[in-house]
């Protein structure tokens, strides 16, 4: 079954798949940004009806965000992972709300914590933070210890340092 899925996607999107790894009932696709929505749509048609998660990772040295979509097929009991890289300067990507309703909240969380813009998501209002004025807190250039030291501790006060 996994080999069928692999060959079907390879034949349909020959230039968009950068890397395919299949191991232990899991397939991992690294795809180019241009066709990633069609690839996800194709995977949904194949039978991956459960979207577990939409994760974002900030690779600041490479100036890219990586979005990772975790999918599961209830019928075949296979997991598929789709990874796509987007530029850090203009992090805009198409939303997958049309395919899975549950994606709306995952994307809203990533928008708030990373600053990624999902086009087509009906509501990207703030979720966890209220009146937040700094940069999105999960980005690598936001140092939470420096922020806390400046905001909550007096200038000469000792506070525990665990990692330098």
């Amino acid at each position: 079954m996994i080999s069928d899925i692999e060959s079907r996607l390879k034949s349909k999107f020959p230039d968009s798949l950068l890397n395919v790894v299949s191991k232990d009932k899991r397939i991992t696709f690294s795809v180019k940004k241009e066709k990633f929505y069609s690839i996800l749509s194709e995977l949904k048609d194949i039978g991956f009806d459960h979207l577990s998660d939409v994760t974002a990772v900030d690779y600041i040295d490479e100036q890219e965000f990586e979005l990772i979509y975790h999918l599961w097929s209830h019928r075949e009991k296979i997991r598929a992972i789709v990874k796509v890289r987007i530029p850090r300067e203009v992090p805009t990507v198409k939303s997958v709300v049309g395919l899975w309703t549950g994606a709306q909240m995952h994307e809203r969380e990533d928008h708030e914590l990373f600053g990624i813009n999902f086009e087509g998501n009906p509501n990207l209002a703030e979720l966890f933070l209220e009146d937040w004025e700094e940069i999105p807190p999960f980005r690598k250039d936001f140092d939470t210890r420096k922020y806390v030291k400046e905001k909550y501790y007096q200038e000469d006060e000792q506070y525990p340092i665990v990692k330098g």
Partner: protein
């Protein structure tokens, strides 16, 4: 004839509310009917995943307990397994058995707490007090094995921190016998109680397709007929070596979800009994050198917590602290997509029953 103005009222199901945990929702109502629900989470947000990037892996094993306050052991299990997958470590059999025993005891604890909270919000104080007294049996077992009642901090990378004693094995058997007797009491007192059935049956119903589209997992999904249980579909720890059933129901309403959880308590009791009977001897932990701290790689580990599918995505780049940790919390979608969907069209008085039948933990949702 005068023109009558119709206005809709917005009621806060506020953060300070006996039936809401620490979660805020705005209900748009017309009389008694709820037309829409807008969730406002974030009252318990700590930025957990960011905090984990500043601590080394053994410190994170202790911190990650508190990501889900009602089922802490599942978080520890997930993080330790994700790191062990990157390192390629093989845990000895006794360690795996002990971990599975603690995980199942944690599941029983979470479900009994859920019975208590659900009874409290339905106005059934007696069941609430009795259930929260029964929790003490399992917390006592936690204390014997690990020293900590609620947040065990027992797991480490490579196994468990210390071995279990004969006292633990004896006390666990006694506690399981007691809980099995209590289950038949709860059947008669709570689950077959006419008022309980009337308040939960046909309330908050969803079909299988809707549940899958909204992202439901755990007992919420199994009550709609889909048999997705990570312990059977992607087995981990000692689950391949025990026999248990995956509990499903067809109706998809609040009562079906409650019965699914009640049956899961019985299955967990049977799993722990099997594991205690076949507990192997040997070491419970792999001795690790400093090379286990500087790991490079990425892994995605899924497990079945008491609430549903919980997954840990860990990216490590060779430094002692992880580069990125993402916790897929089951309560995130229960509260933010399923609850608004099910609340539409119901009455105000049914809102607590729907909310707690989904068994969501606000600390798990916000992280």
């Amino acid at each position: 004839m005068e023109e009558r103005e119709i206005a809709f009222l917005t009621i806060p199901f506020g953060p300070q509310h006996p039936a809401s945990g620490h979660f805020h929702a705005l209900l748009k109502v017309d009389g008694e009917t709820v037309l829409g629900l807008e969730p406002h989470p974030g009252y318990l947000h700590r930025g957990f995943e960011k905090l984990m990037e500043y601590r080394v892996h053994p410190q994170n094993c202790v911190l990650v307990d508190r990501a889900d306050v009602l089922d802490p052991f599942s978080c520890e299990l997930g993080y330790a397994n994700a790191i062990e997958k990157i390192a390629g470590l093989e845990i000895p059999q006794r360690g795996r058995y002990i971990r599975t025993i603690m995980a199942e005891l944690g599941r029983i604890l979470s479900h009994i707490t859920w019975i208590g909270v659900l009874s409290m919000v339905l106005g059934f104080d007696s069941a609430n007090k009795i259930a929260w007294g029964d929790r003490e049996k399992i917390l006592r077992l936690n204390e014997i094995a690990t020293g900590g009642r609620l947040y065990p901090c027992y797991l480490c990378i490579g196994g468990v921190r210390r071995d279990i004693s004969q006292e633990f094995v004896d006390e666990t058997s006694k506690a399981l016998d007691y809980l099995e007797g209590q289950l038949s009491f709860y059947d008669y007192f709570v689950f077959k109680n006419e008022t309980f059935v009337m308040r939960m049956e046909k309330v908050g119903r969803m079909s299988a397709e809707e549940a899958i589209d909204l992202g439901a997992t755990g007992p919420n999904l199994r009550a709609c007929g889909i048999d997705y249980d990570v312990r059977k579909d992607e087995p981990y720890e000692a689950y391949p070596e025990v026999e248990f059933n995956v509990i499903t129901r067809e109706e998809g309403d609040a009562y079906a979800r409650s019965l699914c959880r009640r049956d899961e308590i019985a299955e967990s009791i049977s799993i722990v009994r099997q594991l205690l009977k076949n507990l192997p001897d040997g070491s419970y932990r792999v001795e690790l050198g400093p090379e286990c701290i500087t790991l490079e790689g990425e892994s995605y580990f899924c497990l079945e917590s008491a609430r549903g599918e919980k997954c840990f995505h860990v990216v490590s780049d060779g430094s002692p602290c992880p580069y990125r940790v993402k916790i897929r919390a089951p309560s995130f979608l229960h509260t933010l997509t399923e609850f608004p969907y099910l609340a539409k069209g119901s009455t105000i008085a049914d809102i607590p029953a729907i909310y707690w039948s989904l068994d969501s933990c606000p600390a798990d949702m916000d992280r």
